[in-house]
Amino acid sequence: MAEAAAGTAGSAAAGAVPRRSPGPLGAYALLAWTWTRAAARYPASMVLLALATGAVGALDAAAIGLLFTRAPRIAGFEVAEVLFLYGTSALSFAVSDILLGTTERLGQHVRLGTLDAMLVRPVSPLVQVAAEEFTPRRFGKLVPAVGVLALALPRLDVPWTPGRAAMVALMVVSGAAIFGGIWVLTGAVQFVLVDSHGATKSLTYGGAFLTQYPMTMFARDFVRAVTFVVPLAFVNWQPALYVLDRPDPLGLPGAARFASPAVAAAVCAAAAAAWRAGLRHYRSTGS
């Protein structure tokens, strides 16, 4: 029945798209609204899901809180500083997950043949995959992120300059862009490796988990890998070093702390190229 409701809503939207022919953003908004209405057909589930999604996100924050009931400083960081990292990471990740998280299901669309149906519609397949089953439940993730950030920011022991305040905003935006790029990039991998979703979760969800903690906890080579190979360190760690006025354990030059927007642009460009290449080489399974 859910499929039936969603299906009717989906085809209604598909019917509406060519008439109005909106741009990609308009199409995304229209599809997202359609899926939201479909989800609202099960109001009890939708509310419970949003609450539970928020609660699952809050569990990570609770874990940090619990860790610090057992020790005042861990790996040289205090609870407010780690919660600041949690808040910025969770906020960036939540925004990227709301907008692009369903690109992780590309492999499923390839296997079921539903991608073929998307290719014949006059809307970008990326928009369709990303808006697929858009659900208000994912907004639940914003709640613990914003809440914890609001709690942590005034407790940070730093002199608040306009530069620092701007950096907090900038790191959330670039962090979301980096995560967004990683969603699309790992989605594009599934054009080639249909079964890779299980493994690429370690970059998306794993990246979200990793960036909640200070890199001083992890082994040096591990930190190098998430700085230079998969640039997760630029989601919030490098800018946070500037905000918290801390030395870099890898000893990178100070400019690295301001590099997040450039890194985000590079990741997004790589993701766009990978997606286009994947789409160009896509061959239907014929099912």
Partner: protein, 262 residues
């Protein structure tokens, strides 16, 4: 001969049919194992004997949770709910085998398949990269019993949640709420020995502890002598209680489905 061994076998076969997909999942479990292990090591660096664990115990615990995520299906869910939504469950109810027994056999087959493919990689990687604590032969046997009982408890919990679909018509909300409980109270997020005071005592008495914390304690050799039967009895009691609740709900569901029109 009963059909249930076959149901078990087909469950096992279905869940070992895509080994590459399972290994990909195991890779993610391993990656999370590493990240969580570093966090725990940092904590145990500050508090060396926290909760009676040493750092080696904590790291072993961490990789053990990652190895058991798949087999015990900590993230919840059961195929049965899809069949309730689509009405296919009417076929299940017509079978000459009870609904609960059928799905228990299927789920244990799934658990065995998942353990075979997803259990090893996180443990091996953890043992290679960090100081690790392996149990002796007796400990391994006790651990096998504890995992089996943990799987029964896991099934009992998920079956009760799945039957909730008959009333709510959609399992996702209920599933999501139980996911929060399951993640936190099983010891997935933090070992339950880290939880302070009453919260810790409560968490260690609830059924979720029977899924991860108890098998892990057995693995680490922290439940020996008279403590071991007590630990297994704790698991068995929760398994029995949950399976009994599932049995009662199954009876209620038979009437419910008729009202719903089948």
């Amino acid at each position: 001969m009963s059909a249930l061994p076959w149901v078990w076998w087909y469950g096992f076969r279905r869940h070992t049919a895509y080994p590459i997909g399972s290994l990909a999942e195991a890779l993610t479990n391993t990656a999370f194992g590493f990240m969580r292990a570093y966090v725990l090591i940092a904590l145990w660096h500050e508090r060396p004997a926290l909760g009676g664990y040493d750092a080696t115990d904590a790291v072993t615990f961490c990789f053990l949770t990652q190895a058991l995520i798949g087999p015990l299906q900590i993230f919840g869910g059961m195929e049965l709910t899809e069949r309730i939504r689509s009405g296919d469950v009417a076929i299940d109810l017509h079978r000459p085998v009870g609904l609960q027994g059928w799905w228990l056999a299927d789920d244990l087959g799934r658990a065995a398949g998942s353990l075979a493919l997803r259990g090893g990689p996180p443990l091996l990687a953890g043992a290679l990269a960090f100081p690790f604590r392996w149990p002796g032969p007796a400990g391994t046997a006790a651990f096998a019993a504890a995992v089996l009982l943990g799987a029964l408890v896991g099934f009992g919990l998920r079956y009760v949640v799945a039957l909730g679909t008959f009333w709510l018509h959609d399992d996702r909300g209920l599933n999501a709420v139980t996911l929060v409980m399951s993640l936190f109270l099983s010891g997935m997020i933090l070992p339950l020995v880290v939880l302070p005071g009453r919260l810790g005592a409560l968490a260690r008495a609830l059924p979720w502890a029977a899924q991860i914390q108890v098998p892990a304690d057995v693995f680490l050799g922290r439940r020996t002598g008279a403590d071991l039967p007590a630990a297994l009895a704790f698991q068995a009691a929760w398994a029995a209680a949950l399976l009994a609740a599932g049995w009662l709900l199954t009876r209620a569901v038979r009437r419910r489905l008729v009202i719903h029109g089948g």
